[in-house]
Every structure is written in C-alpha cells, then in structure tokens.
Subunit: 218 residues, 2 copies
C-alpha cells in the first residue's frame, strides 16, 4: 500500500521552522501539512500565506495546505501564489464549496474537500468531479494533541466505498487528528492512505523513527 | 527623547524566526512587534499564539502583540498565556473595546488601543483610564511594505495633545506602517515615541545599521 505521512507543522517549533521541516523531510515525510486557522471558523489562530511562502523559498516539497477558515474563497489565491501544492477547504466554511474547489484547481494545484467529524458524506457525490483529495477530520479542528475520534472510522470506510463507486479510486482519503502508531492502523484499515501527524512526530526527538513507526502499518 | 524601535516580524524570514529575532535584538531593537491578522478584520492571515509562544520560550524580550482580528476578546487570553508583554486591540473590531482593554490588563500586561487611519480620536477620552499605549496606524493594516500616510500626522499631534490634557503623559503613541528613516522624523515630530518598522529593518542586510538609522531622529 502506498501510504503517505504528512507531518503537521502546527506541532513544530515555530522559531526554527526551516530546521524542523528539513528534519522531517530527511526523516522520510511525504507531504508537509500546513494548518491554517483564522480564529473564526475554529477557535485558534495559527498561520497564513507568509509561512507557506517562507517554506516554499527553501523547500521543493509537497506543501499540503489545510484551510480551517471562514469563506476560504477569499484566501485561496494568496495561498496558491505563496506556493501551496494542494489546498483543502471545509464544506462547513462556505456556501460555495463547489466554486472554491474549482478556484483551487484553476491554479493548477490539487483541490481537497475537508469534512469535520460531525459532517456527513452527502456532499461528496455532487463535488466528486472537482475532487483531488478528501480530508476527513478525526478530531474537531482547532488544536494539536487531541485524541482520535474512533466514531469517525465507519465514515472513513463509507467514504472510500463511495469514492470507488463514483469512479474516484484515485482520490486519496487523508485523515487528520489524533494519528499515532495505534490509531493509524485503524484508519488505514478503514481506507485512509494519507496520514497527518503532529505531536506523534514533532514531539519525538527522533523524527525519522517516529515517521517509520507510523509507516510500519500492516 | 526616549524613542523605541519595534521591528515587526511580519517582514522577517518565517522559516528562521529565532535567528531573525536574535539578530534585531542584538541590533538594538526595543520591542518585537507581532502582527496578528485573521483574514476577516483585515484581508491577510498571518500568525497566532503559537508564534508568540515559540518566541517567548527563547527570548526574554518585550513582545508587543497587535491584534488585527475581529472580536479580539475571544483571543486575548490565549495571547496573554502565550507570553505577550502587551496586547493592542482595534476599536473598529469590537463593540466592547473598554472591556477588551480591561481583559488585557487583568493578565497584568499592558493594554493598547489601536486605531485605523480612518478612525477619529473620539473614543480615546472614554478609554483613557484603561490605556497603557495608543497605536495609530499610519497605513491601512493588512500587508507590510505600504507607504506612510502623511494625512495621519495631524492625528498623531492631536492624540498627543489629548492624552496630555487627560493626564496621560506617560501613555506612549506607537505608529505602525510605512516607517522609514524619512517618515520616522515626521511621526516623531508629531509626538510618536514608539516606531514599528518591518521592511525598513528586515529587508536590510545589516539590521543594526537599519535600527541605528531609525534611531538617529533629531
């Protein structure tokens, strides 16, 4: 199986971001996950395009930008210009999610649909043609270090089945929140293939080992 | 005169924040200015408490946090806990500016009132008892590198006069936006004593020289 590990810099040392990102890339990270929060859609404020831009200047890696912000369409162009490789937007954050996904793709980058734990899969079929990635939150977004919500496991399995049925076998399911060597096994068994991990990687002194232990999923 | 220079990390290299901050502190910076934007009150998203926390872990310096965010009272506690030395909030961002200033002081730190270029000084007198700092924007907030609005100069002078008349001679006026060796002279002559500077410092290879040239105001 082709699993991807995406360390979230939300758990990195923000005073030494370049070193932190270099460290996890050396350790085998596939994507760098950038958690953007506006303090309105979610209760925390984190980082904006300046961070994406600063990383893009130094790294050629895949920058997976997750917008946890109200009306993301107002900011998609800025994040694309800053150098995002993919941008995921929340269905709950805008009445114009279809247009937002098209707007992301218009920049030639991948469009992700993000769903909170309490959001059903109803919206997936109408958006399937615009989707490059489905991001299922496995915690309620806002802060790092929260425990994995096991109640999201059936949704992951249903989402995989639904995407396959819609002819979207190539659209990966990314899970975000509470990912550890224990929970990653369950999420992978349910059909997820991209794993965001924050503290499970950055809180460990040896990031290569931490990434390897996440990869060693059966 | 006791002028303070406050480099704004909005113009720093975000991948190497610790080095950048160390560099300007060595160069004589008095305060480190942290521009927080939520993409709602202003059109840009920048940084949140994680940045303040990361800097506080490494530096003992004065962290001057400027909240350009909607309803700042929702986030004051998080920034205070992260280690802010002062927090400035915009009159335009909340109907409860008096309470917001009290909330900042309840953490034992300095409370600043920030006013956009288009906002008059009417609100200053009713808030004078809660004020440790008056921050007058000399550009419209949102992005670094904008030119100084000279139309704000009479407002700086009127604000100084007003604060003095209210018995608040000790409350400094901070100016933010378009500050350079040229414009700092005008702002200082009008009565400002704290000067936020972004690109005028971080865009220069020698930050010590840049800070000294800002200080050499007559």
């Amino acid at each position: 199986m082709n699993h991807l590990v995406a360390p979230s810099i939300l758990s990195a040392d923000f005073a030494r971001l370049a070193e932190e990102v270099h460290d996890v890339l050396e350790g085998g990270a596939d994507w760098i996950h950038v958690d953007v929060m506006d303090g309105v859609f979610v209760p925390n404020i984190t980082m904006g395009p300046i961070v994406v831009e600063a990383l893009r200047r130094k790294f050629d890696c895949y920058l997976d930008v997750h917008l946890m912000i109200e009306r993301p369409e107002r900011h998609i162009d800025a994040f694309a210009a800053a150098g995002a490789s993919s941008i995921s937007v929340h269905q709950e954050a805008t009445p114009h999610i279809h247009r937002a996904l098209q707007q992301i793709r218009s920049h030639g980058i991948s469009a992700g649909l993000a769903l909170n734990p309490g959001t059903g899969l109803d919206c997936v079929a109408p958006l399937a043609e615009e989707l490059d990635l489905l991001l299922l939150m496995t915690v309620n977004p806002g802060f790092g270090g929260q425990p994995f919500l096991t109640a999201t496991l059936p949704k992951i399995a249903q989402a995989r089945e639904l995407l396959d049925r819609l002819g979207k076998k190539h659209v990966p399911i990314e899970v975000d929140g509470g990912i550890s060597p224990d929970t990653i096994r369950q999420a992978a068994a349910a059909g997820a293939t991209v794993f965001v991990a924050g503290s499970a990687i950055f809180a460990k002194p040896n990031r290569k080992e931490a990434i390897m232990s996440l990869r060693s999923v059966e």
